[in-house]
C-alpha cells in the first residue's frame, strides 16, 4: 500500500488535509506541452536525479490568464509555502511589466533564477509564400489584415510583443492593426498555422522542434544574437542577419513565494545552481534548442529589474500599455 500512499499524498498535498508535507511542488502556469511545462518537468526531474532534493517534485499544471492565475494563487494562497517553486520566463516578466496580472507586481514573489534561454522564432507552414523574415514583415506593412499571427501567450504577451518589436524595427508602427490570436500553447499555434488559419506562428524554438524535424514548418528567423548550435537549428538565420535587429530570448527560470525563509530560498537557489551545472541539464538544453543563460539569486533579481523596466518602456512605445 506504500505505492498508493505516496500517490494520494501528492493529491492532497495542496489540500492542507495532510499532517505533513511529503514532497515539493512545481507549478507550471500553462497546459502541458509548452515552455513553462518543460521548465517544471526538466528542472524537477534533474533536481531529484542529481540529488539536489530528496523526494521527487510533483508538477502541477495551472493554466490561465497567461500565468496570471498561478501568480495570484501563489501570492494570495501560498505566500509562505516553502515547498513550492513556480516556472517563470520572459512572459512572466512581460506580463508583470504590463500590469497584466490583475495589478500584481514583481516584488510580490521572489525570483530564484534563470538557467537557460529559449530564443524566439517566427514560423510559417512549409507551403507558405513567405520565404524570409523580410517577406513576412513586408506583407504586414503592405496590408496588416492579410496576416494573422498565432502564439501560445495571450494578446499583449511576449509572443505577441516579439512580432511587434520586429515590425517596429522595419518602420511599421501602426501596431493596433496587427492581428494576433493567443491559443492554448505553442503546439496549438503551430497546428493552426499548418492548417492555414493563421499565416505565421510566433513562439520559442523549443516549441517547434518536432515540426521542424518533420518538415511541416519553416522557421523564418530566430531572435537570438547568434545562430543556435545543433544540426536541426544551425541553418536557421537570425533576425539580425536579415537586418531586423531584435533579440528576444525567453529565459527559463523559477520563482518562489515571497514570505519564505532565507534558508528555504537559499536551499532552492543552491538546487537550481546545481541543475544549471549538471550534464543532464546541458543535454536537455541541447535537445530543446535552449541556449545557456545562467543567473541565480541576487544576480538574477538585479537583471530582472532591468528587463522589466525595459519592457515597460517598450510596451509604452508600442502602445500596449498607456
Amino acid at each position: 500500500m506504500k505505492l498508493l500512499n505516496q500517490a494520494c499524498a501528492c493529491v492532497l498535498l495542496s489540500a492542507g488535509l495532510l499532517s505533513q508535507a511529503t514532497a515539493a511542488e512545481c507549478i507550471a502556469p500553462a497546459n502541458p506541452g509548452g515552455g513553462w511545462d518543460f521548465t517544471c518537468r526538466s528542472i524537477s526531474k534533474i533536481m531529484h536525479d542529481i540529488g539536489a532534493v530528496d523526494k521527487p517534485i510533483q508538477v502541477t499544471n495551472m493554466a490561465g490568464g497567461g500565468g496570471g492565475l498561478a501568480y495570484t494563487h501563489v501570492v494570495n494562497e501560498r505566500g509562505t509555502d516553502e515547498e513550492l517553486i513556480v516556472a517563470a520566463s520572459s512572459a512572466t516578466a512581460t506580463r508583470l511589466a504590463q500590469n497584466a496580472y490583475a495589478g500584481m507586481t514583481a516584488d510580490q514573489v521572489k525570483f530564484l533564477g534563470a538557467i537557460g534561454a529559449d530564443p524566439g522564432v517566427l514560423v510559417v507552414g512549409k507551403d507558405s509564400p513567405f520565404k524570409s523574415l523580410t517577406d513576412l514583415l513586408d506583407a504586414v506593412k503592405a496590408d496588416p489584415t492579410s496576416v494573422t499571427f498565432a502564439g501560445g501567450s495571450a494578446a499583449g504577451g511576449f509572443d505577441h510583443l516579439k512580432v511587434l518589436m520586429a515590425l517596429g524595427r522595419v518602420g511599421f508602427t501602426d501596431i493596433s492593426k496587427v492581428k494576433y490570436i493567443g491559443v492554448d500553447g505553442g503546439a496549438d499555434a503551430i497546428t493552426q498555422t499548418i492548417g492555414g488559419f493563421t499565416q505565421a506562428m510566433t513562439g520559442d524554438i523549443s516549441e517547434v522542434v518536432g515540426f521542424l524535424k518533420s518538415g511541416d514548418v519553416r522557421v523564418l528567423a530566430v531572435f537570438a544574437d547568434e545562430r543556435i548550435a545543433g544540426d536541426d537549428f544551425s541553418d536557421i538565420p537570425t533576425a539580425k542577419e536579415q537586418g531586423v535587429d531584435v533579440v528576444a530570448v525567453n529565459w527559463r527560470g523559477l520563482y518562489v513565494p515571497n514570505d519564505i525563509s532565507d534558508e528555504a530560498y537559499n536551499k532552492w537557489s543552491d538546487a537550481l545552481a546545481q541543475v544549471a551545472a549538471s550534464d543532464e541539464w546541458a543535454e536537455a538544453m541541447t535537445a530543446n534548442g535552449l541556449a545557456p543563460f545562467t543567473k541565480v539569486g541576487a544576480d538574477f533579481a538585479g537583471y530582472l529589474d532591468g528587463v522589466i523596466a525595459e519592457i515597460q518602456t517598450l510596451s509604452k512605445e508600442l502602445g500596449v500599455i498607456k
Binding site: V11, L17, N31, P56, R95, A187, F197, G210
Partner: protein
Amino acid sequence: MEVFSLLADGFAVALTPQNMMLAVIGCVIGTMVGALPGLGPSNGVAILIPISFSFGLDATQSLVLMTSVYYGAMYGGRISSILLNIPGDEPALMTTLDGYPMAKQGRAAEALVLSGVASFVGATFATIGLMFLAPWLAQVAFLFGPAEYFALFLLAFCTLGGMASNNQRKAAIAACIGLGISMIGLDNSSGMPRLTGGSLHLMDGVDFLVAIVGLFAVAEVFIFIESHGKESAIGVKLGKVTIPFMMIVKSFGAMVRASVVGFIAGVLPGAGASLGSFLAYMTEKAISKDKDTFGTGNPRGVAAPEAGNNAAAGGALVPMLTLGVPGSGTTAVLLALLMTLNITPGPMLFKERPDLVWGLIATLFIANFVLLILNVPLVKIFVKLLSVPPWVLLPGVTMVSFVGIYSLSGSYFDLLLMIGFGVLGYFLRKIDVPTVPIILGILLGNHMEDKLRQAMVISGGDWTYLFSSPIAIGLWIAAIVGFVAPMFLSKFLKKPSAVSD
C-alpha cells in the same frame, strides 16, 4: 502487413509479467478513481506520475501503468452514473440519462454489463483506429480552425433541445446558465477577471467537478430528504446478475455507430471525450425509431455514450501523439508524462520512437482486455452498493464528495459553492429543468467564446467567416436542423416522459 509486425513488436515490449501486473494494478486504481465522484481520470493519471518515478519504472512501464489508469477511469466513471445518478467523471455524464432509469427498474446489473461491453467496443475501435489511421488522422486537426470549432460547439448546444427534457426551452435555459457560469473567472483572451465580483476564489472560474458533484450528488441528498428515502432505486429487488446477451447483440449497432462518432470527436483536439459521448448519444437518439424511450432506460442510451466516450478517449491520443496537442484534460496529463520521460510527442514520434508508440498501442489492447475481464464479474460487487439503505448511502456519498472536492483546491470556498450547486440542482429538478446542459455549458463555454473571438480577429470582424468552409457550413446546417427539428417533430411524436421525476 507492416502494421502487424510493428504491433507484434509492440506486444513483445508490453507483454512481460511485470508489465501485466502493472496493467492490472493500473486498471483497478483507474476504475476506483473513475467511480468516485469528484475524482476523474486526470487526477488518477496525475497522482500516479510520482509513483513511476519513485519506483524507477522505465518509459514503457510508466506508460503501461498510466494508460491502464487512463482507460480504467473511463470504464469506472459509468458505475456511479448508473447506480447513483452521479457521474463519476465528466464524460460519464450522458450515461446517467438512461443508466439510472435502468437501475431504478431493477436492471442495474444489465446496465453495468452492457456499458462495460460498450466501453470495450468503443475503446477497441479507437485503438484500432489509432493503429491504422493515426498519421493520416493527424491531418484532421489541420482542417479545424476557430470557425469550425465554434460551429462544432454550437452544434452540441443546438441539439441539446431534444435531449433530457420534454421542454426545449428549459434545456436551452439550462445551457445558458452553464455558459454563463463558464464566463466567470479570467477572460482567456485578455487575461482580465470578469464576473468575479472581486472575489479571488472565483478568479480561477468554477471547476466543473464542483458543479457536477453539487448538481448531482448534493441535490440528490435534498431529493431524498424530501421523499424520506422512499422514491429510490434502493429497495428495488436486485435481479440476478446474468449477462444480457440479447441486449448486447441488439445494441451492437449502436455501439459501433457511437464509436465512430466518439472517435472523431476525440481526434479533434478542441472537442474531447465529453463532447464525444454527448454527440454519440444524440446521434443514436436521432436515428432511433423509439426516440421517446430515450431517457427512460433505453439500453442503447447506455451503450451509445459509453462506447462514445471510450472511443473519444482513444481518439484523443491521436493529436496528442502526432501533434503534441492534447485533446482533453486527461491526455494533457499523459502528454506531461511523456515529456517527463524526455519523449516529445510530435509529428516525428512514430518514426523516431516506434518501440514506444507500438508498445503503447499494445498496452491499450491489453488494458482493454484486462478491464473487460475485471469489470464483468465485478458487477456483482458494484450492485451490492444498491442494498445499502439510503440513510447510510447518501451521507456516505456526500462525505466522499466533500473530501474529493476539498482535495482539488483545499479551500472551503469550493465546498460552499458545491452546496450552492446542490440547492440550485434541487430547485431545477423540482421545476423539471435538466442539469446535464449546465455541465456541458460549463465545460465548453470558454472554448466556444475563445474560438468565436479568434475567428473574428482572423477575419477582422467579418461574421461571414464563420461560414467560410465546407466543414463549418456542414456543422451549421446540422446545428440548425438539430435545433429546429425537435420543435416540429414534437407535434407529431408522443411527448417523451421527463427524465427527472
